[in-house]
Amino acid sequence: MTAPLVVSALAKSFGRHAVLAGIDLEVQSGETVALVGPNGSGKSTLLGCICGTVIPDAGSIHVAGHDLFREPILARHGLRYLPQEVEVPDGLTGREFLAFYADVYGVPEAAAEAEARSGLGEAIERLASTYSVGMRRRLGFAAALAGLVPPRAAGPRLLVLDEPFAGVDDDGRALMRDLLGQARRHGAGLLVAAHERDLRELEAFSPRLVTLGQDRPKG
């Protein structure tokens, strides 16, 4: 079966500073991989490369069996991303934001369940730009899972999460844990950039740890 994510010999430098060098990584269906490492170790850069927001210097990335650069649309159909800071476009309500996501992934019927899953209640009708950090995260999480839990389309799926529990209250964390568990049971691979606190939240998923930046001097 095709793995949700296969990264081979990935390299990325900013000027002379090599942030990633020869990274190989695979995430299988139903597996949880936690990316750990100190600040500046390249976690966000690696996630950026996988999501197409950062262009690597060398290497290849296959998402759901599709080359991220040769088949960008197909690869992105297999990818869901929750960034550390959820960007909400100006002028859209929470409901419209979720409807847009569901529409883009070709599962418009998933918008209503994403709305219920967000737990935002009546605030879903408000402009998303007025939401607090925690509310934005809930919204981003619900958007990322639209059509993924339960799955609306066949094929492998990768869920990429950048410090998903930051700024979320206890109820929100419990909800997110539950939904991540469901996504995993439905066969999605989870790739999580994590700090220590996030690792505690992920314990139930027995994550495989991948440590970045070990060979670099600290301080």
């Binding site: 960008p72 992105r76 159909h77 100006d90 002028g91 883009v104």
Partner: protein, 382 residues
């Protein structure tokens, strides 16, 4: 000695906006069209049109010109810093002055197009001088609008006559402290008109070869002196109230705006073929002011341009209406970096992932292209 860095930064926060010249430009084009179609022999009517049209042109951009003093979000944010009120005034005043020059320029060009060869006659020059006298006095009076707004936009002790006035003039539907901002702009321009009137009357009599009474000359000079020489006092008045007036005004705006639940998205949006286009159109509808009215103005400008007796004037009319339709879309264009970050990981077309949206640009330009085509057809008709 170089200005401190904070002053430079503070002044950079106040930047010009399309509204401070595009809206006056459209009003000026309409004003010029109206002047152009009046009979040159009807001098009284033309003088009235100049006396009323000038203030209308300035009124159209007044809020945008004075926005930086009390209304701008960056002003509210900067108030947490230990910066004297007069510095805030100076920062906003720079932008105000630039915007005033832009309004003056569009008004003068419009008047020049309307009067045409009449400018070679004393009466034509008199009309131009009427406009100039009013604009100069208005520039002196306008800084008093935020100054009085700041001074009276504070909370006064219970029982004070100002508190009673704030309550009675607000009618209970906004904060009493913010009531002054409903009246100050019109009052300010009204004062400028009143101060300019003796000067305009004196100029008109002189242009017609009539004698100018000494009393009228003194009144005209007093008007100009009062309007311009008292301006340096405005920052002091502003500084007394700005730290209270800005938070009260902001609170009043939030209260008036109600909860952040927008109007439902228009039904026609569903007819657009792609999610990217629907997203752009929704942002355009929500983030640009009165889009339907702006489109309507463009539609109305076309027959007016068609009928216009002067090609440059018709062009100015359609051009101003087109700019008014297009320029606010910069609010959506400015979101490009955010859109790029947001859409990069989504399965959308490459152009959209880069934050561009060619289909949306075409949709935006379509009414302008149609308006120009129709107007051109009118001008080249036999």
């Amino acid at each position: 000695m170089a200005a401190p860095l904070w002053r430079t930064v503070l002044r950079r926060m106040d930047r010009g906006d399309w509204a401070d010249w595009a809206v006056p430009a459209l009003v000026a084009a309409l004003w010029a069209t109206l002047l152009r179609v009046t009979d040159p022999a009807a001098l009284g009517l033309r003088q009235t049109l100049v006396a009323l049209g000038g203030p209308t042109v300035l009124l159209a951009g007044l809020h945008a010109r004075c926005f930086g003093y009390l209304h701008a979000p960056h002003r509210e944010r900067a108030l947490v810093l230990p910066i004297p009120g007069a510095e805030h005034f100076a920062a906003a005043r720079r932008q105000h002055r630039r915007a005033w020059w832009r309004s003056f320029a569009v008004g003068t060009v419009a008047l020049g197009l309307a009067l045409g060869t009449d400018l070679r006659t004393p009466t034509g020059l008199g009309l131009l001088a009427d406009w100039c006298v009013f604009v100069v006095i208005a520039m002196g009076v306008e800084p008093w609008i935020p100054a009085v707004g700041a001074a009276l936009g504070r909370r006064f002790p219970q029982g004070s006559p100002i508190t009673a006035l704030q309550r009675s003039m607000g009618g209970g539907w906004t904060l009493p402290e913010a009531v002054i901002h409903l009246y100050a702009p019109a009052l300010g321009l009204g004062v400028a008109m009143a101060l300019a009137l003796p000067g305009q009357l004196a100029i008109d009599r002189f242009a017609q070869g009539l004698s100018v009474p000494q009393g009228l000359v003194i009144a005209a000079l007093l008007g100009v002196l009062l309007g311009t020489l008292a301006t340096p006092l405005a920052p002091h008045l502003y500084a007394r109230g700005v730290f209270q007036a800005v938070p009260f005004l902001s609170e009043a705006q939030k209260t008036l705006a109600g909860p952040a639940v927008p109007e439902p998205s228009p039904v026609w949006l569903r007819a657009l073929p792609t999610p990217g286009l629907r997203l752009w159109a929704l942002q355009f509808v929500r983030l640009t002011p009165v889009p339907t009215l702006r489109l309507l103005l463009l539609v109305v400008a076309v027959p007016l341009a068609w009928k216009s007796p002067s090609l440059p004037l018709g062009l100015a009319l359609v051009g101003a209406a087109s700019l008014l339709w297009l320029l606010p879309a910069r609010a959506v264009a400015r979101l490009r970096p955010a859109r790029r970050r947001w859409l990069a990981a989504l399965p959308v077309a490459p152009a959209l992932r880069e934050g561009r949206n060619p289909a949306a640009q075409a949709l935006l330009g379509l009414p302008v292209a149609l308006a120009l085509l129709v107007a051109l057809a009118g001008w080249i008709r036999p």
